[in-house]
Subunit: 243 residues, 2 copies
């Protein structure tokens, strides 16, 4: 049973999607996580199409990624994913990332809600179905937590949501929130440091043409808080720890 609880998926990191350091990026890792979450759920009867039948959809609420060592490009990596907890409104899913030598190079934790696709309001989760697959496999990173608002302390920079930002639901793609936030950091930081932990809390949906303000504030030597606002209200908050 433990075997069927934990999903195992292979990827080869793609050179054409790497950053200037020849490394996998946080949004790219995020895409892998979303892919394996989606496949793992679909194979166990609570995936995209199962949710669609009930006019519901999964919504990513929080995501925390910790990377010990970034893989190079054209490297085979293995991702493990499993459900950690399930409640009435939220379920939590963990990930372990292993390199081609079998060494764990990162972990991630995510929290998901289900919404009614018509009302866009939260709906109750199928605790029995999902609960069958709960695994106690360890995921030794801190759970995503509260991120302090910083938008009133910084000026922010404007970004208008474009065609290429939109996902299949017509909203700002979850990974595009991350991409635009990371673009707030100067290239020098990427040359000298690595992102050790990235965390994001999604609060509402970005839409086409929406004028967003991107905020970043240094909290201490290696840690930053970020947010994306629309009309003065945060649509997401994030934090980055460099090492």
């Amino acid at each position: 049973m433990e075997k069927t609880k934990v999903g195992e998926f292979q990827f080869v990191t793609e050179p054409y999607l790497s950053d200037f350091r020849g490394r996998v990026t946080i949004p790219m890792i995020g895409n892998y996580l979303l892919q394996v979450a989606s496949k793992h759920a679909a194979e166990r009867g609570f995936g995209y199409s199962d949710m669609s039948e009930k006019h519901t959809a999964w919504v990513l609420s929080r995501l925390a990624i910790e990377i010990i060592e970034y893989p190079a490009v054209s490297e085979s990596i293995t991702l493990y994913t499993w459900v950690d907890e399930v409640g009435r409104l939220f379920t939590s899913r963990c990930f372990e990332l292993v390199n081609s030598e079998g060494k764990t190079f990162g972990y991630a934790r995510s929290i998901w809600a289900a919404i009614d696709v018509n009302t866009r309001r939260p709906t109750l989760l199928d605790i029995n179905r999902i609960g069958e697959y709960i695994s106690d496999r360890p995921c030794p990173i801190e759970k995503p937590g509260k991120i302090a608002p910083i938008e009133n302390e910084t000026e922010g920079s404007l970004y208008v949501v474009k065609y290429s930002d939109l996902d299949i639901n017509g909203h700002l793609n979850s990974m595009k929130y991350i991409e635009h936030l990371l673009d707030l950091f100067d290239i020098e930081l990427f040359k000298t440091k690595d992102i050790k932990r990235f965390e994001i809390a999604y609060q509402s949906e970005g839409k086409y043409g929406m004028e967003l303000m991107l905020h970043k504030l240094k909290m201490d030597s290696d840690s930053y808080s970020l947010s994306i606002c629309n009309g003065g209200k945060a649509i997401c908050r994030a934090s980055v720890i460099w090492s």
Copy 2:
């Protein structure tokens, strides 16, 4: 021999990278093309690492993509690629895209040069090595051609190159040129029409922090010319035909 001339590669189109219509995008197709070009070349002794050994690298010079019908997400697609021509400075590579029912849904043509990685100047191609693999498999779309300059006739919109735009060489990623150009079109056009042909000619490399002006001009009812300029000089020109 014909078998070894033509490379065949499988993909499953990824839901999390689709656009708001649930369709594969032109930059995503472009990424598939780059991936298979890279693998096909590597398997035949003229790939990234073979070029690196001689301190050279492939540079995409021109690309034309024609799509008859866009595949949906989570669909298995097959890409075929082969070398069409090779000369002293340029080689041309073709692609055929086939859907899960075995029906061809698109073709593409690309032109590549090799540069010396230190001087960034063009170098001579290994005509004998590459010439062995030339195939006369048909690719029934027009070759990429000359695109008229339009930057002096339009105002343009500013874009500054960011971290997430950079490729492994530290330059504006080939597919990001396309992404930023397509973002010039209003969402309404994507709702009612499809891109039938996209063509781009790369002229020079976008770099971090560079201030780019993005230009678009309607040429006739369904056809547009585009360009990206830096300091008044085009770094690429493109054209789009909608249907």
